[in-house]
C-alpha cells in the first residue's frame, strides 16, 4: 500500500531562527496550521479508503440477548460488519493498567455508548445507516450510579471475577482502588485545634472537549500488518494494547502520529484505534474512522466526578492542626486511569500546606456511569476545589485574612508531604500568593469604562441585555494548588530520543526523532530549541513521531518537556561527545585545547569554554553523520504503601496560584468572570510564549468547570443527557476574562535546565478561585461545581 497523502508532523524550522532555550521561538508547525495544510488525523485520505462506523449501546447496563447484522450487511456499499464474535484472537480486552475494556461488547454492556459492533462502508453516511440497521436486543439490568448503590451488600458487580492487582486490597469489588494516607495522629491533633471546620463537596463530570474529534486511518500493509495514522497522547501505549487484539507482533503494527487537535487527557485511552485496524485487516482496504461530536462524548473518558468530605482544624494563631478527608471518585464502567487518579487525589489531598497529622482516604468506584480517567490535573483538581474551600472557611473561623492564612501554612522546600516524602526543590507557595495578590485589580464597574453607557458585553448576561449594572455585585477569591509532574508511584517513566547531526548543503543540521505526541503543547518547538542550545546549530528538523523510535511516554502529567525534553538533551550531549571525538581525531594535533579545555558547540563551531574557536562543525563532520538513540530517565519513584500511603511517590511538584475577580447578577444568578490572574513557578521557561499559553489555557479549563461545564448523567438510567456543544458548554471568548500571568523561575536542580512541568497546575487553582470569588460576592456557601444560576438565586 502506498503512503496516504500528508506527512503531518514532518517539520523543518528555518535557519533564520536562531533561538535556543529561554527564547520565545515560534512554532515550527505554525505556518502549516494557519494555512489549513497541517494534516490532522481527521484529514487523512487514501484512495479506495472506506469509512468505519461504531454502533454503541443505547442503554447503560444490559445483557445482550442477540445481535442481528444481516440487514446491515445487505446494504449496498457495506464491506464489513464485525461484532465480538469476529475478533481474531483470544485477547478481546484492552486497558491502560487493567485490561477490563472490551474491544466490542461481549454479552453485556456496562455504560451508555459502549461499542457493540463496527461497520465499514464506502461513504460515511452509508456506514451510519448500516450501523443503524443492526438489531441489538438488550435485557436491561439495574444501574449502579453512586457509592451507595455500588457498595450495597447485594450490589450487582460491574465486573464479575476481577483478577487485577487491586482487587486484594479494596473493601468491595465495585471499588477499583483505594489509597489511604495516614500520618501522625489526627485524633490527638484534633484536641489541639481551636477551630474545626467540615465540608462536603461535589465536583461535576468535566469533558476534555478537545476540538479535533477522535479519528485515524488504518492502512493494511503487504506483510499482513497495518499502518495506523492516529491522533493520540502515547503511540507506544496504544501499540502495546492494539497488537495483541489484532494477533500481530508489534513490529507489524506501525504507528505514525497524525495532527492532534488537542488532548487534555482524553486521548490516553484507546478510542477507534483497534476498530479501524480490525476493519482494515478484514476488508483489505484502508479504513478511516472519524467521530462526530456526539460520538466523541462517548468515545473518551471524562474527568472523574467526585464527592469529597473534609475536616480541617487550626489553632487560634492560625496553624493547621490536622486534615481528615475522604475522596470518592466515580470511575464509571471501566478502570482506565482510575488507580493513578486515586493515588494523586490522596497524595495531594491536603494541598500545598504544612500539616503533620492527616488521615486521607481516596477511592474510585466502578459504576455504570461513563468511564472516567485522565484529564488535565488528574485527581489533584477535585481535591484542590475542596481543600481550598476549606481553607477559606477555616481562615474565616480563625479570623485571619484568607491569603494570609494560606501563607501561614504554606509549604516550602523541606516540608514533608503527607506521604512522608520531603519536598526537595523550591516550593514558593507563599510567594505565588503574594505575587498574585499584588497585581492591580481591574477597575470597579468596568462596564462603564467605554463611556457613560453600560457596555452590556462586559456585564453578566452579556448581549442578552439582562442588566445595565443593577443587582451586580463584585467578588474576589484566591486559591493555590499543588500538582505532581511526571508518572508517579514507581512507574518506569522514561523517554527516548534519536538525534542525528550531519552537514547538509554546507550547513550543520540536527534531526530530532522522538515518539512524543505533539498535541498542541509545543513540544516540537522546545525540542528544536534544545538541539540548538546543545549542538550549536540553527537548522533543526523534527522527524515525524512514530513507533520506529523508542517510546517517549505519554504527553500527559505535565511531563513531556521534562522527560522527552530531558531525553533530547541527553541524546544531544551524547552526539556532541561523538562530534568532539571526531574533531579531536582530525584536528587535535593542531591545538592543545582539544585535549585540555571544556569544549562546546556554538554558532556552528567547536569553541572552548573561553570562547576560542577551534573548528567549524562543517569541517569536523565533513560527510560523516553522527547519530545516537538513547533512553533517559528521571529519578525513580516508589509505590505508596497500601495501608499508610507512605512512600517517595512523586518526581516533582508544580505550583500555581490564582486570583479571580467576578461580577454576579444576583437577581438572575449570572456570573461574569472579569479577571483571572495567575502566578506560577515554572523552574525555567524554555519557551516563555508557550509557557504563558499553557497557563492561560489551563486557567480557562478551570473556569469552565467552575461556571458551566458538566456532563449530566441521568441518575435513574445512567444515560448521558447532553452529548453536544449545544448542551455541554465550554467557555467562549465572551466568557473568558483577561488572564494576567506572572511567571516565576526558581530552578529545580533535579530537572533538565531546572524546568518544572507547566501544563496542569493552572487548571487546579482556577476553579476554587472562581468559586471563592462567587462566594465572596454572594455570601453563599456553594459546595458544588460547576455553579449554575439556580444555585445563586435559590430558585
Amino acid at each position: 500500500m502506498s503512503t496516504p497523502n500528508g506527512t503531518p508532523t514532518k517539520i523543518t524550522q528555518g535557519s533564520q531562527t536562531k533561538g535556543g532555550i529561554g527564547e520565545s521561538t515560534l512554532r515550527p508547525d505554525g505556518t502549516l496550521k494557519v494555512t489549513g495544510e497541517f494534516a490532522y488525523s481527521s484529514d487523512m485520505w487514501h484512495e479506495d479508503m472506506l469509512w468505519g462506523q461504531i454502533l454503541r449501546s443505547t442503554v447503560a447496563h444490559a445483557e445482550i440477548v442477540s445481535i442481528d447484522t444481516s440487514e446491515a450487511l445487505a446494504l449496498a456499499g457495506v464491506y464489513a460488519v464485525m461484532t465480538y464474535d469476529d475478533l481474531p484472537t483470544e485477547v478481546k480486552n484492552y486497558g491502560l493498567e487493567i485490561q477490563d475494556t472490551p474491544v466490542l461488547a461481549h454479552g453485556k454492556v456496562r455504560h451508555h455508548g459502549e461499542p457493540v459492533a463496527i461497520v465499514a462502508a464506502d461513504h460515511p453516511e452509508t456506514a451510519r445507516r448500516a450501523a443503524a440497521k443492526i438489531k441489538v436486543e438488550y435485557r436491561e439490568l439495574p444501574v449502579i450510579t453512586d457509592e451507595a448503590s455500588a457498595t450495597a451488600p447485594d450490589a450487582i458487580l460491574v465486573h464479575e471475577g476481577r483478577d487485577d492487582h487491586h482487587v486484594g486490597h479494596v473493601p468491595h469489588p465495585n471499588i477499583v482502588h483505594r489509597q489511604p494516607i495516614i500520618r501522625g495522629d489526627v485524633a490527638a491533633a484534633r484536641e489541639r485545634a481551636d477551630f474545626v471546620v467540615e465540608g462536603e463537596y461535589t465536583f461535576g463530570m468535566q469533558d476534555q472537549a478537545f476540538l479535533g474529534p477522535e479519528s485515524g486511518l488504518a492502512v493494511p500493509e503487504e506483510d499482513g500488518g497495518v499502518h495506523l495514522y492516529i491522533a493520540t497522547q502515547w503511540l507506544h501505549s496504544d501499540l502495546r494494547q492494539i497488537a495483541p487484539v489484532l494477533g500481530l507482533p508489534e513490529r507489524k503494527v506501525r504507528m505514525t502520529l497524525s495532527g492532534v487537535g488537542g488532548a487534555f487527557g482524553g486521548r490516553e485511552d484507546l478510542s477507534m484505534q483497534i476498530h479501524a485496524c480490525l476493519l482494515a485487516l478484514r476488508t483489505g482496504k484502508p479504513v478511516k474512522i472519524v467521530y462526530n461530536r456526539f460520538e466523541s462524548f462517548f468515545g473518551h473518558v471524562h474527568r472523574h466526578p467526585a464527592k469529597l468530605y473534609y475536616e480541617h482544624g487550626a489553632t487560634k494563631d492560625g496553624k493547621l492542626t490536622h486534615v481528615k478527608c475522604r475522596i470518592v471518585l466515580d470511575g464509571g464502567a471501566y478502570a482506565s486511569a482510575s488507580p493513578a487518579v486515586v493515588g494523586n487525589a490522596a497524595s495531594l489531598g491536603v494541598g500545598p500546606y504544612v500539616v503533620d497529622d492527616v488521615d486521607i482516604e481516596a477511592i474510585a468506584l466502578y459504576t455504570n456511569n461513563p468511564p472516567c480517567g485522565a484529564m488535565r490535573g488528574f485527581g489533584a483538581v477535585q481535591a484542590c476545589f475542596a481543600y481550598e474551600a476549606q481553607m477559606d472557611k477555616l481562615a474565616d473561623a480563625v479570623g485571619v485574612d484568607r491569603v494570609e492564612f494560606r501563607q501561614l501554612n504554606a509549604m516550602e522546600q523541606g516540608t514533608i508531604m503527607p506521604t512522608g516524602q520531603p519536598v526537595d526543590s523550591p516550593a514558593p507557595v507563599a510567594e505565588l500568593l503574594r505575587r498574585v495578590k499584588a497585581m492591580p485589580l481591574p477597575p470597579e464597574q468596568q462596564w462603564l469604562s467605554a463611556g457613560e453607557e453600560a457596555d452590556v458585553r462586559q456585564l453578566p448576561g452579556g448581549l442578552s441585555n439582562t442588566t445595565h449594572g443593577e443587582g451586580v455585585v463584585r467578588g474576589v477569591g484566591y486559591a493555590v494548588g499543588i500538582k505532581n509532574v511526571g508518572f508517579s508511584e514507581g512507574f518506569d517513566d522514561y523517554s527516548t530520543a534519536k538525534v542525528r547531526m550531519e552537514v547538509i548543503a554546507g550547513e550543520p543540521v540536527a534531526t530530532v526523532h522522538t515518539a512524543m505526541a505533539e498535541v498542541g503543547q509545543g513540544g516540537v518547538t522546545v525540542h528544536a530549541q534544545i538541539a540548538r542550545t546543545e549542538l550549536g546549530v540553527t537548522q533543526v528538523t523534527i522527524h515525524p513521531a512514530d513507533t520506529q523510535v523508542g517510546s517517549a511516554g505519554s504527553t500527559s502529567a505535565s511531563r513531556q518537556t521534562y522527560v522527552t525534553g530531558g531525553a533530547v538533551k541527553n541524546s544531544c550531549e551524547l552526539v556532541r561527545e561523538k562530534v568532539l571525538e571526531i574533531g579531536r581525531r582530525r584536528f587535535g594535533s593542531y591545538h592543545p585545547a582539544w585535549a585540555t579545555a571544556e569544549l562546546l558547540l556554538e554558532g556552528g563551531k567547536v569553541v572552548t569554554d573561553g570562547g576560542e574557536v577551534l573548528a567549524d562543525l562543517v569541517d569536523v563532520l565533513e560527510d560523516e553523520s553522527v547519530e545516537v538513540e538513547a533512553e533517559w530517565r528521571h529519578r525513580p519513584t516508589e509505590a505508596f504503601d497500601l495501608r499508610t500511603g507512605q512512600g517517595n511517590g512523586h518526581v516533582q511538584y508544580s505550583f500555581a496560584a490564582h486570583r479571580a475577580v467576578v461580577e454576579v447578577d444576583t437577581e438572575l444568578g449570572l456570573v461574569k468572570v472579569i479577571e483571572l490572574a495567575c502566578a506560577q513557578d515554572v523552574g525555567k521557561a524554555l519557551n516563555p510564549l508557550s509557557v504563558v499559553g499553557q497557563i492561560q489555557g489551563g486557567t480557562i479549563q478551570g473556569l469552565g468547570v467552575a461556571v458551566m461545564e458538566e456532563i449530566i448523567v441521568d441518575p435513574v438510567t445512567a444515560k448521558v443527557r447532553n452529548p453536544s456543544f449545544t448542551d455541554y458548554l465550554i467557555p467562549t471568548i465572551l466568557d473568558t476574562p483577561t488572564i494576567p500571568v506572572d511567571v516565576l523561575e526558581l530552578a529545580d536542580d533535579h530537572a533538565p535546565y531546572g524546568l518544572r512541568g507547566v501544563g496542569e497546575a493552572p487548571t487546579l487553582s482556577s476553579t476554587p478561585a472562581v468559586l471563592a470569588a462567587i462566594r465572596n460576592a454572594t455570601g453563599l456557601e456553594l459546595n458544588r461545581t460547576p455553579v449554575r444560576p439556580e444555585h445563586l438565586t435559590g430558585s
Partner: protein, 203 residues
Amino acid sequence: MRVNFTVNGRPQEADDVWEGESLLYVLRERLGLPGSKNACEQGECGSCTVRLDGVPVCSCLVAAGQAEGRDVVTVEGLADFAKQRGEQGGCASGASGASGASGSCGTSLQDAQGWSAKGQDSQTGEGTELAPIQQAFIDAGAVQCGFCTPGLLVAADEMLERNPNPSDADIREALSGNLCRCTGYEKIMDAVRLAAARQGEAV
C-alpha cells in the same frame, strides 16, 4: 447531483454529491480542501467557518446544494484573498470603499469572484505568503493544537475587514462563535490586536 461553485477564486465542479452532504463535506472530502474543520457539526464551534459570498458561515450547516453558483473562501485561500483585497484598497487597508458598489465595508460578490488562489507546494509551508491575520496568529502564539485556527482566521479576517480598529469587546463579540480549547483566548486577542495594529501602520 452536481454542484458548481467557486472556491478560492477557482470554478469547481463536484459530482455525485448526495443531497444530504454539507458544504463542509464537499470541501473536505470531494475538493481536497481539508483546512476547514469539523468539530461539532451543529454550528456551535465555528471551526468550519468559510465565507459564502463574503459572509462568514458555518459550512457544516450549509447544504452543498445551497452553494450552487456562489463564491466560497476557505482558509486555504485566505492569504490570496487578503492580498487581493489589499491591492484593491479594500476597507481593511483603510482605503476607500473600492470593495463594493455602495462603498460599504465588506467584499462584494464581484470582488470575491475576481481573484484566484495560487498553488502552494511547500512541504513545510516555509516562505509561504500569509495574510496579516495568519502571520499575527503565529507571532502572538495564538496557535496551539490549531484545530480552531482556520475558522478563527476566516472570522477574524472578516471582522478586521469590517472594523479595522476593533475594541476588545468588539473582538470578543465577533469571535464568540468560534470555540478554542487550548489557549484561553488571550493570545488570540493579542493576535487580532496585532493584526489590526499592523494594518493601521501599513496605511
